[in-house]
């Protein structure tokens, strides 16, 4: 590595101010009206310092992160304030000057590496793009350096991984490759925009550790954007809480975690405390017996899976992506007939394929999906979305149907004023509530919830979970609750099924599964869930180093 390639790390001690944002105002356009997104935020970042930006979606976190690069997304514009990076006023200088800073002195790591790598080019070509363009290194040196960065980020096969295309590499690896890409020019500042949100917890630990190490090694300053407090606690020196485009409070990490001053901050903290008393199981409503399933007869996705759901209880199915959780739901609903085994519902074996099932059987098992945006037809009003199952399953029409729709809306804590809205006019949480009402319209006995809160903010999540729990108390409906989020599992389940690579690893009442001793995979999964303790990651890595895990997550 040449001297010019690596600006002398020694000078990068914390102390002098690197980025100063004053009274930042950004507007976004919707329906031809400019509305404020960021309303007067101040931010100061010193060299080598990591600042955590936290808040719900719509709080303006990403917008501020991008503003630190002098960049406003399409449909957004700066409307006030200043952004000064290392003495350069980013709002005053030319486009060309701003462009030259990006990639070389300020780099960006996006939320979804899978979408942010160009599918048409190999990882290496994308990794070295900025430094070749800026003439920082020649191609041979740049590739050598990239391989070194891949190695430091603990990517497998660092020599070869660069010559793969993005679709050939897993999500966790891509996220680390993207961090390597951000590091190539040894920038002074990196914006991490929810870099681990799309990853499984087991993978997240690896990526967090890799990012923290490399930021440390190169004394890079960073803005770390996330909605997950426990994550930001591991990464940041200071935390800034945002809401509605304004700063709520800011403090050093430990202080912030110990005594949050503002009510809003405390409410963010409290979500994780939601809990439900475990209830013992009764007669089974659903039994999945020795099911083996595959897509296209080649890849076995489920292997001899047996799961029982007691009536009126919640069974949580946990596991990382690719463990077969959603496939299990597809088998139960009949969307994917199993190769072997059967699904017994209320004492009767169900026909394997959806089209062989009676309409009443279909009615009794309903499903709610992860993305309410795609699960609702954007051109159907709330009335149509909820009214359709009422007609189809219950044969209601006219005034009866209308009355029932209003009843259902009340049940999900909304009212008849929403009847004529289209999904586009509802918030994420409201859309998910409509999906719940649509499932309830069929008066089902079992609802399969596939990651229903994963796309929602923590506070909205809490509302949805409480609603689901209340509905269970009032209506006695049973849930098969698929999730990768252990906090959610703790909150709502009676029983837990742990899945790994298409098999059930552990199954039992919540209290037993969540308390030690654990089978190796459950141990890995549970220990990977970030905790609010800022030393959690450090301690976990030390423990794992001393005692290598018996099982490794499939993803890295």
């Amino acid at each position: 590595m040449s001297e010019t390639a690596k600006p002398s790390a020694g000078t990068r001690t914390k102390g002098d101010v690197l980025l100063e944002i004053r009274d930042l105002q950004i507007e976004g356009e919707s329906d031809e009206v400019w509305r404020p997104i960021v309303r007067g935020v101040d931010l100061t970042l010193k060299r080598g310092e990591v600042l955590g930006l936290i808040g719900e979606s719509g709080a303006g976190k990403s917008t501020i992160g991008l503003a630190a690069m002098g960049y406003a997304r399409g449909g957004c514009r700066f409307s006030g304030g200043s952004v000064v990076f290392d003495g350069i006023d980013l709002r005053a200088v030319s486009d060309e000057a701003r462009r030259k800073l990006r990639g070389s002195r300020i780099a960006y790591v996006a939320q979804s590496a899978a979408a942010s790598f160009n599918p048409a080019h190999r990882l290496m070509d994308q990794t070295v793009e900025a430094e070749l363009r800026e003439g920082i290194r020649n191609r041979t040196e740049a590739e050598k350096d990239a391989i070194e960065l891949y190695r430091r980020l603990r990517l497998p096969n660092p020599e070869e991984i660069g010559f793969r295309y993005p679709h050939q590499v897993s999500g966790g690896q891509l996220q680390r490759a993207m961090t390597a890409m951000a590091m190539t020019c040894r920038p002074d500042l990196i914006i991490f925009d929810e870099p681990t949100t799309a990853l499984d917890v087991t993978t997240q630990v690896e990526v967090l550790a890799a990012i923290r190490d490399i930021v440390d090694q190169f004394h890079t300053a960073a803005i770390y954007i996330t909605h997950d407090l426990a994550v930001v606690a591991q990464m940041a020196d200071r935390i800034k809480v945002l809401r509605y485009g304004k700063s709520v409070e800011e403090a050093p990490t430990r202080e912030m975690l110990a005594n949050p001053r503002e009510e809003y901050t405390r409410s963010l903290w409290s979500v994780r405390k939601l809990g439900k008393q475990e209830q013992p199981g009764g007669e089974p409503i659903l039994q999945v017996k020795n099911v083996t399933a595959a897509y296209g007869n080649t890849v076995r996705v489920l292997n001899d899976v047996t799961v029982t759901v007691p009536r009126g209880r919640t069974v949580a199915v946990v596991g990382e992506s690719g463990s077969g959780k959603s496939t299990l739901a597809r088998v139960i609903t009949g969307l994917l007939p199993p190769i072997e085994g059967q699904v017994v519902f209320d004492g009767q074996a169900l026909p394997p394929a959806l089209k062989e099932r009676a309409q009443d059987t279909l009615r009794r098992i309903q499903m709610i999906y992860q993305m309410p945006d795609t699960a609702l037809n954007p051109r159907q009003t709330v009335y149509e979305a909820i009214g359709r199952p009422l007609e189809f399953y219950r044969g209601l029409s006219g005034a009866k149907k209308e009355a029932r729709i209003v009843e259902l809306l009340n049940l999900i804590e909304m009212d008849e004023s929403y009847v004529d809205r289209l999904p586009g006019e509802l918030s994420g949480g409201q859309k998910q509530r409509i999906c719940i009402a649509r499932a309830l319209a069929a008066e089902p006995e079992l609802i399969i919830c596939d990651e229903v809160t994963s796309a929602l903010d923590q506070i909205v999540q809490e509302g949805i979970l409480q609603l689901l729990m209340r509905l269970q108390r009032e209506l006695g409906v049973s849930y098969l609750f698929i999730t990768h989020d252990i906090a959610t599992v703790r909150a709502i389940s009676d029983e837990i099924v742990v899945m790994f690579q298409g098999r059930v690893v552990q199954q039992g009442p919540k209290s037993r599964v969540l308390s030690p001793p654990h089978p190796p995979y459950t141990e890995l999964l549970l220990s990977s869930v970030p905790e609010m303790d800022p030393d959690w990651l450090t301690n976990l890595l030390a423990r794992r180093k001393a005692q290598p895990a018996a099982v490794k997550a499939g993803d890295y």
């Binding site: 990006r102 996006a110 160009n118 080019h121 363009r133």
Partner: protein, 325 residues
């Protein structure tokens, strides 16, 4: 087998199947052409005896199914049959359909090739520039001009060009008659006007698709990432957007190139260019069925071949297909 090779072979097989179906449709369509072929060829004054003799000679007295299989059998051996015009006792020498189509097809391909060599790069260039400077004066100007040219009937464009570039300013010639003795340069000079007409007709479509395909991608996260890596606007388009836009562009290019071979009749007539389009029109009016059949088959093959090439480009531009996991 490599999945890409397999896919290509599948498409090729499918193309051949399509060609067979098309050959049946051609034969059916010709059966349904109104009028008496023998009389059309021999003229109204032909005696019943000559008509019968003619029908026997060319095989019109046998069933359509038998004739189809005979014709297909010949085609598979490379024999497209004989022109009716040479059949019967009235004509002296026999003319093979292949000999009639061959030189005309070459002429058409020459004109099409020249037009394509100008139009495709021009369309890509204009499309990229329009996408780069979206909503600018350049973008709007290019759009308006291309819309005008795409909306005008091609004969109209052709006559306008003749009026300005051959009559008022005699730069080019209005008659594009070429002969085997001409050099390439002479030919290029002679076909300048029909080539310009064709370019004007096809450039708009391809340019608009290029622009749309690129703009469609500009909202992708990887394009934003490119911007945040400090790539210049031109690099964003060429390096980050265009490689992912080849599939739709290739399909539109293929359609337009097919048009250059198949749809040029009007332009050929206006400039009296001896291409395959004119040959087919003449053959239809003379009820010279073997020639009509031959031309139709060549047209169908052109379409299928160009679409096959577009499919291959689509596959080759998609790393997911080219480099499976």
């Amino acid at each position: 087998m490599n999945p890409v090779v397999r896919t290509i072979l599948q498409r090729l097989g499918l193309g051949i199947g399509t060609l067979l179906v098309v050959s049946i449709i051609i034969s059916l369509a010709i059966e349904m052409l109104p009028g008496d072929f023998a009389r059309a060829v021999l003229g109204q004054s032909a005696t019943p005896e000559t008509v019968a003799a003619f029908q026997r000679e060319v095989g019109l007295d046998r069933s359509p199914v038998v004739r189809y299989f005979e014709w297909m059998g010949g085609v598979l051996r490379g024999d497209f049959g004989e022109s009716y015009a040479s059949a019967g006792s009235l004509a002296g020498h026999r003319r093979l359909v292949a000999d009639m189509i061959g030189p005309r097809l070459l002429n058409t391909l020459f004109l099409a090739g020249v037009a394509a060599l100008v139009a495709v790069p021009l369309a890509l260039f204009l499309g990229i520039m329009a996408a780069l400077h979206r909503n600018s004066i350049l973008d709007r100007g290019v759009n308006v001009v291309s819309l005008v040219s795409i909306s005008s009937p091609e004969f109209f464009l052709a006559y306008i060009l003749i009026m300005f570039l051959a009559v008022k300013l005699p730069i080019f010639v209005s008659l594009a008659s070429i002969s085997p003795s001409m050099s390439v340069l002479e030919r290029l000079y002679v076909i300048a006007l029909p080539a310009i007409t064709l370019v004007l007709v096809i450039v708009a479509h391809m340019m608009r698709m290029t622009r749309a395909a690129i703009i469609n991608l500009l909202a992708s996260p990887y394009i934003e990432m490119g911007r945040l890596k400090g790539a210049r606007p031109m690099q964003i388009i060429l390096r980050h957007a265009l490689p992912n836009a080849w599939a739709p562009i290739a399909n539109v290019v293929a359609l337009n190139l097919a048009y250059l071979v198949v749809g040029v009749v009007v332009v050929e007539v206006v400039f009296t260019y001896p291409g395959i389009g004119q040959l087919m029109v003449d053959a239809v009016s003379k009820r010279d069925l073997p020639v009509v059949q031959g031309c139709a088959l060549v047209f169908a093959a052109t379409y299928i071949l160009l679409n096959l090439i577009a499919d291959i480009v689509t596959i080759a531009s998609n790393p997911r297909l080219l480099h499976p996991r």
